[in-house]
Amino acid sequence: MQRRGVITSYALFGATAQMRYTEPVATLDADVLVQVPDPERLDVLADIYSFCAEKGYTTEGEAVRVGAWPAQFVPVFSDLTREAIREAETADFEGAALRVVRADHLAVIALSVGRAKDFARILALIESGCVDGNAIKDLAARHGLAAAWQRFEARFLHD
């Protein structure tokens, strides 16, 4: 997809990325953050869906079935996700190189969304030892989420 110019970059995020750092978690699909050449288009994912259809991958609702997983493509939607995709790490997945969002970015993206399962993700990432509260705090502050992090800390991390 990158070689064809359909996307300029990608990185796995969400629960499947989280599992690189924590214990397995339940999830129904694989979230893929993507950067597209023309992010202002109304049908921003159209070329991705067309590419997948060409390759014989079928859609399942908003996702595209790629092998065993429905893949949900999410275009970068903030400075935070732009930074996350830019600074993603390349990991080995059974011989394949996969770009995956770093643990600190996963935590702060979760903080920005703010559902119960996102808070559970942040706690799991901290417990795994892959990221600490200070790193999350600094990153959150750089992206206008300092207050959200303070609330999270008060609610879940302070006795």
Binding site: M19, Y21, A91, V113
Partner: protein, 63 residues
């Protein structure tokens, strides 16, 4: 109550030990859980709800 607490602690320890699995192994475990969830939903609520609510409902975007 102590037994229940001990059970929960053991479960938490077991769950945390799963962190030591390789990433592909964890993904495979998640696949099995996912397939079970989808099968359970199909069984209890019919095909229409088998795949759960839309994920885009939870995403925030820049205004």
């Amino acid at each position: 109550m102590t037994d229940v607490k001990e059970l929960l602690k053991r479960q938490a320890r077991w769950q945390k030990s799963r962190q030591q699995l390789t990433w592909p192994e964890k993904i495979r475990m998640a696949e099995q859980v996912r397939d079970s969830v989808v099968a359970l939903r199909r069984g209890s609520t019919g095909d229409r709800l088998a795949d759960g609510p839309s994920k885009s409902a939870g995403r925030r975007t820049d205004a």
